[in-house]
Symmetry: C2
Subunit: 424 residues, 2 copies
């Protein structure tokens, strides 16, 4: 066994032992740890900012782009926001210990389910250092241990944040090993992490599609895949244009770099001629570039000063993460549903319609984590859905689908109260 | 691409297309298909029995043992029982379409979850032909497609049963491809099946520990691991011996070849001297062989005509599936919990005690799918737990834990009703 393997195994063993203790920690103690973290982020911000400065200057001199540099950077305002987010998680109800589906069986046994932590969560993520704190506090609150593996660009920030969280846990009488961080940024350690089935109950990859795919294909333990959103908004022939325009604008423009942003507009042929120019003109105000199929391009050619180009086959099914949208005219609701089925990633899909049956059919027939009628796909978010916060958005079907909050980081066990029963 | 790969891909594609239609089939149509299957099992039993006879004679001449031969064999009585089981599933409530957790969000959106099928379930299983029908009808009722891959010993029986079920589906206007069977028993096809992530949403392995481990390690899609039960019953120092004896006897003897049968008796040192001989004598009536630690062996040596031998290290953590039990004297409840933690498989664990706090501690601290107080672990079963039936028993923590019935073969999607909302 190599030194690295030994190091990874020790990390796993320590996390598992800490997680076992975490399952019995009271809500008050967990909240105390979260309050300590929120405090420490403010009182020890100089250390965190100094570490982040190291990362920033290294990234800058290695030629990192401005957008990425901005994601990496921490300042007093961002630290304050992180601290507030931790307090928000502390104020959420504790999911652990809930007993549900309890019933008396014909045998006289009283049986039901009790909500318990999953164990140890492994997080493999990229760039933004606030993810380090976000995921950790959600795992802490739900009674789980966490092994963090962030990107090499933010290693100093992440180490400072993890140290701070470990101290805050210890001060609340929680095992400090409940938060573990892989200190070595060697890429081979990701591979080692993915086979640590004995120590890690669930892996959550957060990052680009390449990372998510790699983790999904190679992990031996369950993985929550998600965070990749190829999101469509379909404008039905009975759509209200007064709703369609702001919904599409919001879904594309409000925050184009996130997974629930719009990628493709589908529009019914009967309203495309009237509505598409209006939609396109609004998007043009934000500088959105449109990649159009033949029919939509023909319609939009007539509109002056639009940035519209022919779509290529790769534009369908592409997560743009930028001010770009694909546009396609469809013959029917059926064609829209089939297009989404072929090119969607199962994240968030919307219809704009005033027709009751079209709305119901879209809700029924589109197979995605979140399906909307007359609303922006940007609402797909743990906070917006009333979960308080999220570790990510699942686009898979097992365990949890859509935003994953505290409850989604738990499992249950059957508890059965008998009085001497035996099976006949 | 080889012929086999092409064949597997076609199977997957057909199953996926059929499953997509299944999601919209009414409860009445699904029940009609199940009723047709139940009828056909009776009316077409001669074909099934003839196919089964082929399997039986081939297995017999290849030297298969009597117990395995018995598992393989079908007769009119067993066919009748299979048919009744299908009708029982037909009578269960349809889980699909249930809407839950619906609430109005601060944005005015009405959002909640709707229960939908998983898609295509792959089943990889061994020997008993009734599993072919059991799993298929549960998948049908829950709106899923199924790809069956049974053992080569039962291939003729399985093909006959699958053909019968496909015809029954077609007669009920369901797509016949909703039930697919891998007709070729070449082992390499299991490997091909495990990478068909695009077509199979969930794999359920049912068989020995080697099969379950192989599938768990090699499948690219989610897997429900389970069915391996290393089950303990702990006799606490405050146990009522009048409960302990029948509970242990039932857990070990009533059906020793199944996963929820007892494997190890743990007993508190303060009562071991009094209780162990009584427990052992009862087990001896059924011819149970005891593999004892040093302390229990010393106690049991004094008892005449017992079949008690020293335990080896491998006896702890062993699923005997036979009339054998390991026995160990422990110093405390803590030692019992730690032993279970080290050697258990997370299936079913029981304590026998009259002490309230010991019962609560055991329920809290033992990490398993099903944890019992004063009852036989043999109750871990979908039927016994009120789920109607089960495809298997999950010993993993994700998605579902314990017996998996119809609801556990579903997922949900978020449905969101808006009136033009955009995110601020």
């Amino acid at each position: 066994m190599s030194d690295m393997s030994r190091y990874m195994e020790k990390t796993g063993r320590d996390a598992k032992a800490a997680a076992k203790k975490m399952a019995f920690v009271s809500t008050a103690e967990k909240n105390q740890a979260l309050n300590n973290i929120a405090d420490a982020l403010i009182t020890q911000q100089e250390e965190v900012l100094a570490a982040n400065h190291k990362d920033y200057t290294a990234a800058e001199s290695s030629g990192m782009g401005a957008a990425m540099l901005d994601r990496l950077k921490l300042d007093a305002g961002r630290i304050k926001a992180m601290s507030s987010d931790v307090l928000a998680v502390a104020s959420l109800p504790d999911p652990i210990g809930e007993v549900f589906d309890m019933k008396v069986l014909p045998s006289g046994l009283l049986a039901g389910k009790k909500r318990v932590p999953l164990g140890v969560i492994g997080a493999i993520y990229e760039s933004r250092p606030n993810v380090t704190v976000d995921i950790s506090v959600l795992c802490l609150k739900s009674g789980n241990g966490i092994i963090l593996r962030g990107g090499s660009e933010t290693i100093n920030s992440n180490l400072a944040l993890a140290r701070l969280m470990r101290e805050a846990c210890l001060k609340a009488n929680l095992p400090e090993n409940v938060v573990q961080i892989i200190e070595n940024t060697d890429r081979s350690l990701v591979g080692e992490m993915l086979v640590m089935k004995e120590y890690i109950n669930l892996i959550i990859p957060r990052g680009g599609s390449e990372l998510v795919r790699y983790v999904g294909d190679n992990a031996r333990m369950p993985v929550i895949t998600g965070g990749i959103g190829v999101c469509h908004t379909y404008v039905d022939k009975s759509a209200d244009i007064k709703k369609a325009v702001p919904i599409i604008y919001n879904a594309k423009v409000q925050r184009p770099t996130v997974c629930n942003a719009l990628d493709t507009v589908l529009i019914h042929k009967e309203v495309a001629g009237d509505y598409l120019p209006e939609i396109a003109q609004e998007l043009a105000k934000a500088g959105v570039e449109l990649h159009c199929d033949e029919r939509s391009l023909a319609i939009l050619k007539a509109v002056p000063s639009l940035n519209a180009v022919p779509a290529s086959e790769e534009d369908w099914g592409k997560e743009f993460l930028a001010l770009i949208a694909a546009v396609k005219v469809v013959d029917s609701l059926d064609e829209a549903v089939n297009h989404i089925d072929t090119y969607g990633s199962g994240h968030s899909e919307a219809i704009v319609t005033e027709n009751y049956t079209a709305a119901q059919r879209f809700l029924n027939e589109v197979d995605a984590a979140c399906v909307y009628v007359n609303a922006s796909t940007r609402f797909t978010d743990g906070g917006q859905f009333g979960l308080g916060a999220e570790v990510g958005i699942s686009t898979q079907k097992m365990h949890a689908r859509g935003p994953m909050g505290l409850k989604e980081l738990t499992t249950y066990k059957w508890i059965i109260y008998g009085s001497g029963q035996v099976r006949q």
